[in-house]
């Protein structure tokens, strides 16, 4: 009877509390350091995602160069109800600046505005909020440009033109909508291509496969599909293979995480449009440091894209692949 429940429970509590002191040193670059060292906090949209990890790599490198410390935090899911408590806690810890990828344009508005009101410089990275006027800077990929880039990729793959289709995720996702719009603009401006519109796969590969099968039944001469995310690309490839048209229809995917790169190497997709998360991070740190020092900042910055294909994946495209660790 030595290990009574109560004692066990208490011990667990003490253990949990002490273990965190142990891991504090190793995992984060936060520290009390010199008083002049700027303290930055980076709040990811979701912890562990390669896109945000790549961004974190850029941020860490830039911060090191600038002599700043970074504490990186993120919710387990891309969910404002999970991100808000983290933001509130970060604000309580009073860093000099926050770099954040807000998970919802409305839900994160008030907490971030409160952070800015508390004297913390806020830099929005990748995503934004409804009214970003309080932020020192907002840095994001030019998603519309990304959509246009996707169209250019299809044009490279099928120079003679033809019918093109978009398989997106869900309606109402601002970044996806912008990509679709960019693609649409490009396709409509080019008379050799016919734009068949956008279909929503709701993140379900089976749904995407069905949509593509149906589209191919209606228009057997489709030459290219822009699949807005990994699941859409998977399903699209399945649908095309079912119709036996893998030589005729080219697929362009978005983002360049390990899953997408594997699809490219396996020939599921023929091209990827990679964002530049590390560059977003680097520029975010630059803007944050400027804001801390009271210098003027650039309110809005748009970063570019890189087409990755089977040809350049082992060459100059390699550095654009998202990283799962720095």
């Amino acid at each position: 009877m030595k290990l009574t429940p109560k004692v066990t429970l208490l011990a667990a509590g003490v253990l949990a509390a002490t273990s965190l002191t142990a891991c504090a040193g190793g995992t984060a670059s936060a520290g009390s350091g010199g008083a002049t060292q700027p303290k930055l906090t980076f709040i990811q949209g979701v912890a562990g995602d390669e896109f945000y990890v790549s961004m974190q790599c850029g941020i860490d490198a830039a911060a090191k160069a600038a002599g700043a410390t970074v504490n990186t935090q993120g919710p387990a899911k891309f969910d404002p109800t999970l991100q808000k408590p983290i933001v509130d806690s970060v604000v309580a810890s009073q860093p000099d600046a926050i770099l954040i990828a807000p998970t919802d344009v409305a839900a994160m508005q008030a907490p971030l505005k409160a952070a800015a009101a508390a004297g913390i410089k806020v830099v929005l990275v990748d995503t934004t909020v409804e009214d970003p006027s309080f932020a020192a800077s907002a840095i994001a990929s030019d998603n519309k440009g990304g959509g246009l880039e996707a169209f250019k990729a299809i044009k490279n793959l099928s120079p003679s033109g033809g019918k093109v289709l978009v398989i997106s995720t869900d309606p109402g996702v601002s970044t996806a909508d912008a990509r679709v719009a960019g693609f649409e603009d490009g396709a409509k401006a080019d008379s050799s291509f016919e734009y068949l519109g956008v279909q929503y796969s709701h993140n379900d590969p089976a749904e995407a496969a069905k949509l593509v099968s149906a589209a191919l039944a209606k228009d057997p001469d489709i030459v290219g599909v822009f699949a807005a995310n990994t699941f859409a690309a998977e399903g699209t490839a399945t649908g095309i293979r079912q119709a036996g048209k893998q030589d005729q229809v080219k697929i362009v995917g978005f983002d360049a995480g390990p899953a997408q790169v594997k699809q490219l190497k396996d020939g599921v997709v023929q091209a990827l449009i990679a964002q530049e998360p590390a560059s977003i991070g680097t520029q975010g740190v630059d803007q944050a440091i400027k804001a801390i020092n009271g210098e003027s900042t650039q309110k809005e910055i748009q970063t570019g894209f890189k087409q990755i294909t089977a040809e350049n994946i082992s060459g100059d495209g390699a550095q654009y692949v998202y990283k799962s660790s720095c």
Partner: protein, 361 residues
């Protein structure tokens, strides 16, 4: 006092054990043990970040962020005390918020008139899903896990159908300014937290002081025995799931006020977080045992851990590890207590006495 009179013809070995109740009993109750754990965690972080962590400003935001989960935790405690489970609270919250937002959007206006209608609509939707859960569980005898898994998907799916998957972000300003981010006049206590505290006090009293609460425990303890003595078990179960649903509706309007959006993709982990808190707080998944107080403490442990970890600057993944560990330990303690009870109370009491005796010397 409940001491026994000396009873003839029986060996009165155990009659004096009941005397020293109060303190010992309090220490045995898991919600108090867990309160000690919370205190230890709090003190540890206070030592690590003395200038940031133990300030009212920080504690205030922890309380504010726990408030919505607290409202859901009330209903979940009732449900789990009956040895049931309600996985649908998060989806129900989203659905209620969506319908309320849709109605308020259609009415226009940003004053209290619109807001009150929205509140009623949200609570009504929540009650409706709760009623569906309750009837399927009590009358159709489908296991709660399956029923609420079904309504989890159903409510979320319908919320997406209603909105086409696009969040509604028009929420009356009065809701956001008062409930969402306002303070109780004259204080710095968030209004949303006051609402949660009031609900917790009301339903804590209902669970622990009234006949409704007693029947909740009776159904969870031994459904058949409750039925045999004339407790209307089906009606009790339905009422409890309706309560849980109604509170999810309340949480829906609170969420709408706090986030200013229906956040359809959000609340993804809400049901599991609330269940974890209820279990950490000492409510047994096997039914018959539980307190609202424990649930409240159980909600604060993950919240304080996360807050402290963020402030100290520890990788986010460790937070989940720590919360998971606390959860497993809490269930382990519950299991041990059950095993001890099954072995017989007398032996356990003697063992405890020895332990206490040794200490006092």
């Amino acid at each position: 006092m409940t001491t026994t009179e000396a009873v003839p013809r029986t060996a009165g070995t155990a009659s004096e054990i009941s005397r020293a109740h109060t303190l010992k009993q309090v220490l045995q109750v898991q919600s108090f043990q867990i309160l000690l754990v919370l205190l230890v965690i709090f003190l540890a972080f206070s030592a690590l970040a003395p200038e940031v962590f133990p300030t009212w400003g920080n504690v205030r935001q922890i309380i504010q962020n726990v408030s919505i989960l607290g409202v859901l935790g009330i209903g979940m405690t009732f449900v789990i005390v009956t040895s049931g489970i309600d996985l649908s609270v998060g989806s129900n919250l989203v659905f209620s918020g969506v319908v309320a937002a849709k109605v308020m959007q259609a009415m226009g206006g940003s004053g209290w008139g619109t807001a009150v209608v929205g509140i009623l609509v949200a609570v009504g939707c929540g009650l409706g899903w709760g009623l569906l859960n309750g009837v399927l569980i009590a009358k159709a005898k489908v296991p709660p896990l399956i029923v609420t898994l079904g309504t989890l998907g159903g409510a979320l799916g319908l919320a997406q159908v209603i909105t086409g998957g696009v969040d509604i972000r028009e929420v009356p300003a009065v809701l956001q300014d008062t409930i969402g981010y306002g303070n109780v006049p004259g204080t710095t206590l968030p209004t949303i937290s006051l609402l949660a505290i009031v609900l917790i006090l009301i339903f804590g009293t209902v669970l622990h002081r009234t006949r409704f609460g007693l029947y909740t425990f009776a159904v969870g303890s031994n459904e058949e025995s409750a039925r045999r003595v004339g407790v209307k078990v089906d009606r009790q179960l339905i009422s409890i799931y309706v309560l849980s649903g109604g509170l999810a509706g309340v949480a829906g309007i609170l969420s709408l006020s706090q986030y200013g959006t229906t956040a359809i993709a959000g609340q993804s982990a809400t049901n599991l977080n609330v269940i974890a808190a209820v279990v950490i707080g000492g409510t047994s998944l096997f039914g018959g045992v539980g307190t609202i107080f424990g649930t409240v403490v159980g909600l604060f442990i993950p919240a304080v851990l996360q807050n402290g970890f963020v402030i100290v600057g520890i990788q986010p993944f460790w937070q989940q590890v720590a919360v998971g560990a606390v959860l497993v330990v809490a269930v382990y303690v519950d299991q041990r207590r059950r095993a001890a009870a099954a072995r017989g109370h007398a032996a356990k009491a003697d063992g405890k006495r020895k332990l206490f005796g040794r200490r006092s010397r």
